[in-house]
């Protein structure tokens, strides 16, 4: 079978395996924790002492079963209350890939945690209870995945064992969901009928559903093509740090360190530095391990430029014919993350790539009902966990792309000036 060593003997990971991040949202009732527990267990990622600990705690609490949710609920308050409060990160690997799971709570009052987990995900896993069909909660999860532009969506129709492995139930849920999801911009949706409890179609193909011809969930996770999701067209290099060694032999060295946000940079490329607009060429791409001919996302490198131009943190290096927008006013979808509501006339710090400026709220254009997708144009503010479209005025221009085209240069956070808390997550429209 395709997943090979992951389920059979000791897992190893080859050094060229790929990193894949996925987000799950859901509550205990969906079987989300059971599913994650099953993935971890069947890839031998749960260690004996962790399992013993979970067994012992389950016994002490009188759960009556081995409660795998205890593996991910790491905080005392979560274990006491039996709920997931925050994003937990879990790790497992197969011979092909290393996975990072951002495990987030599913209830509406934790929308901000879902948004957080979704922000870095390559793939989102949404669970639907086969007995209940497409509920408000599944729609909300799919909406957030599409808002955050997660490129791949996997709908796991769970608890198929409780509907007699019935293909009609599965087909109906697929078509219900597809009809509704037409409103969303999701590029790739995959439906998999599973039973997390019994393991059907989680790691191995299920013998109980011969009518299903697709892959198991793990096989899909291992093979979904994520490398192509990166933006390799628009060269964007936000400068993080200017390297000026103090040593004599490197007296004239000037390097601009940063992470390639998108696109490909090659030695000799004509580039411009924004916002100054000065044109030059890339003289070299340096790393500790030697010079590179080219750099691409998400590499952290240091660029040297041919001309002695003035470059500092917050500047962006890009190609002359393909520039981000230099914007003093931006429209953005913002998820509000603070218990203190958005102040309609408020001023916030805005952090975008390596640049921080001030932002004033010019207008709350509308608030989105995350369940019905209805737009409330009379809204004047956003409260905790609410998502809406804002028009912001900036103290200094930011070099932005639309989030739908570029997650790295289209995203920002808002920071409260008085408390320093991160209060908003924004996506440039």
């Amino acid at each position: 079978m395709a997943t090979g060593a992951a389920t059979n003997g000791k897992p190893t990971v080859t050094r060229t395996s790929e990193l894949v991040r996925f987000a799950t949202a859901g509550s205990v009732d969906d079987g989300k924790s059971t599913l994650i527990g099953r993935l971890l267990f069947d890839t031998k990622s749960i260690f004996e002492d962790q399992l013993e600990h979970v067994e012992e705690t389950s016994r002490r609490r009188g759960d009556g079963y081995v409660n795998l949710a205890l593996l991910t609920d790491g905080l005392r308050a979560e274990r006491e209350q039996g709920i997931t409060i925050d994003v937990a990160y879990r790790y497992f690997h197969t011979p092909r890939r290393k996975f990072i799971i951002a495990d987030t709570p599913g209830h509406e009052q934790y929308t901000r945690n879902m948004v957080t987990g979704a922000s870095t995900a390559d793939l989102a896993l949404v669970l639907i209870d086969a007995r209940k069909g497409v509920l408000e909660q599944s729609r909300r999860h799919a909406f957030i995945a599409s808002l955050l532009r997660i490129p791949h969506l996997v709908i796991c129709v769970n608890k198929m064992d409780l509907v007699d492995w019935d293909q009609e139930v599965f087909d109906r849920i697929c078509s219900d969901f597809t009809g509704w999801a037409a409103k969303l911009e999701v590029q790739d949706v995959t439906f998999i009928p599973i039973s997390a409890l019994h393991g059907d179609n989680v790691v191995e193909r299920s013998a109980n559903m011969p009518w299903y011809e697709g892959p198991s969930l793990l096989y899909h996770l291992e093979h979904v093509h994520v490398a192509a999701d990166r933006n390799l067209r628009d060269a964007r290099f936000p400068v993080q740090w200017v390297t000026r060694p103090m040593r004599d032999e490197l007296h004239d060295y000037r390097g601009y360190a940063g992470e390639v946000a998108s696109g490909v940079f090659r030695t000799g490329d004509e580039v411009i530095v924004l916002p100054s607009g000065r044109a030059t060429r890339i003289a070299g791409i340096d790393t500790y391990d030697g010079e590179l001919d080219e750099a691409y996302p998400p590499q952290s490198v240091t660029l040297r430029l041919e001309d002695d131009v003035d470059v500092s943190r917050g500047d962006m290096i890009c190609r002359p014919a393909n520039r981000p927008k230099e914007a003093k006013d931006i429209d953005a979808m913002v998820c509000w993350m603070s218990e203190r509501p958005l102040s309609a006339s408020g001023r916030y710090r805005i952090k975008h790539t390596s640049r921080t400026a001030l932002a004033k709220v010019d207008e709350v254009v509308y608030r989105m009902d995350v369940n019905s997708l209805h737009r409330d144009q009379d809204a004047a503010s956003l409260e905790l966990n609410e998502i809406g479209k804002l028009r912001l005025r900036l103290s200094t221009p930011l070099l932005v792309d639309e989030y739908r085209r570029n997650r790295a240069t289209g995203s920002f956070i808002l920071i409260d000036e008085s408390t320093n808390d991160t209060v908003g997550a924004g996506m440039v429209l």
Partner: protein, 318 residues
């Protein structure tokens, strides 16, 4: 620390289909370097906490990569319990000298002598928990706004919930329920006077990632990570090194055994594992096959209660 006898493995593997692939280790490396540079750029005074263990060795190596060809823009600090493995101190001093880094030693013994903390007594005494006070005092004394640590989320349940930029209030406390949301790669390092952030660039690494990276980068580590014959004794099902810092209980008899250490901490709370793994390759194979977590196998400090780490972290622990 970086052996230059053979060329480093290619950092990039560009496939023939021009898909610009990047291995998971290189993706983790790039993320960590990004985090380290953000801190240096945004927070006035930073320090790298260095224990001499494998995670802090990797962290220091990444910091070196982040600013190459420049030097480290921050010092390195060791919180010294005075109960160290001598091999680790030797390693620390050699490494810091080679790198030309500035080393600050914050001493738990000084905290005891100054009356800031009271030493536990008895055969089970450990200075592990006292370190939090020494650490917070040193952060305050030097006015550090950011302290890098090598902690990973796979180590422990409470850590799995911690941010990469983990905010600490005026008392050095971690508030797990009031953490700042952390989105994309946009980190919020704004702090007020007296507050600081702990920064964990290795958050997304697993123990196996660390060992594979050590092997790929040919990093030197303290020799106690590799199998050696040592005088040990058995306590609570774990093997501990015999030393002047640990008092034996009645019935505990020292004996010789081939062991290695999977984690490196205070001698009083770090257990050894029986092992014959003498080379890096052997260790990587051993870690890939292990069925027990590193803290479960080797750390007495986590056995106190179900939330031992969460409680220590709330007090300002690493």
């Amino acid at each position: 620390m970086h052996s230059r006898t053979s060329p480093a493995p290619p950092i990039l593997r560009r496939d023939q289909d021009l898909s610009y692939e990047i291995s998971h280790l290189r993706a983790l490396e790039a993320e960590a370097i990004h985090v380290i540079r953000e801190v240096a750029a945004e927070l006035e005074r930073a320090v790298l906490l260095f224990s001499g263990g494998k995670d802090s060795a990797v962290l220091l190596h990444l910091a070196r990569k982040a600013f190459h060809p420049g030097g480290l823009p921050f010092p390195v600090m060791h919180v010294d319990t005075g109960h160290n493995f001598p091999e680790v101190i030797e390693y620390r001093d050699k490494l810091v000298e080679e790198m030309g880094a500035r080393l600050i030693i914050a001493s738990v013994q000084d905290s005891i002598d100054n009356g800031r903390v009271v030493e536990e007594t008895g055969p089970r005494a450990s200075r592990n928990r006292l370190q939090s006070v020494t650490l917070l005092d040193a952060i305050e004394e030097h006015g550090f706004k950011a302290a890098f640590g090598g902690a990973r989320r796979d180590e422990e349940r409470a850590r799995a919930k911690e941010r990469i930029f983990s905010f600490r209030d005026d008392f050095g406390q971690w508030d797990p329920k009031g953490q700042r949301p952390e989105l994309w790669n946009l980190y919020n390092g704004f702090v007020k006077p007296g507050e600081h952030v702990r920064v964990f660039p290795l958050s997304n690494w697993t123990e196996l990632d660390v060992w594979q990276y050590v092997a790929e980068e040919k990093l030197e580590l303290p020799c106690i990570y590799f199998a050696h014959e040592r005088e040990v004794f058995k306590r609570d099902g774990m093997l501990y090194a015999v030393s002047d810092h640990v008092e034996l209980l009645p019935g505990e008899e020292p004996f010789k055994r081939w062991v290695r250490f999977r984690t490196v901490g205070d001698m009083s709370c770090t257990g050894a594992v029986a092992s014959k793994a003498q080379s890096l390759e052997d260790v990587v194979a051993e870690i890939a096959a292990t069925r027990i977590t590193e803290r479960g196998e080797t750390r007495a400090d986590d056995r106190i209660s179900e939330a031992a780490m969460e409680d220590r972290k709330k007090e300002g622990y690493f």
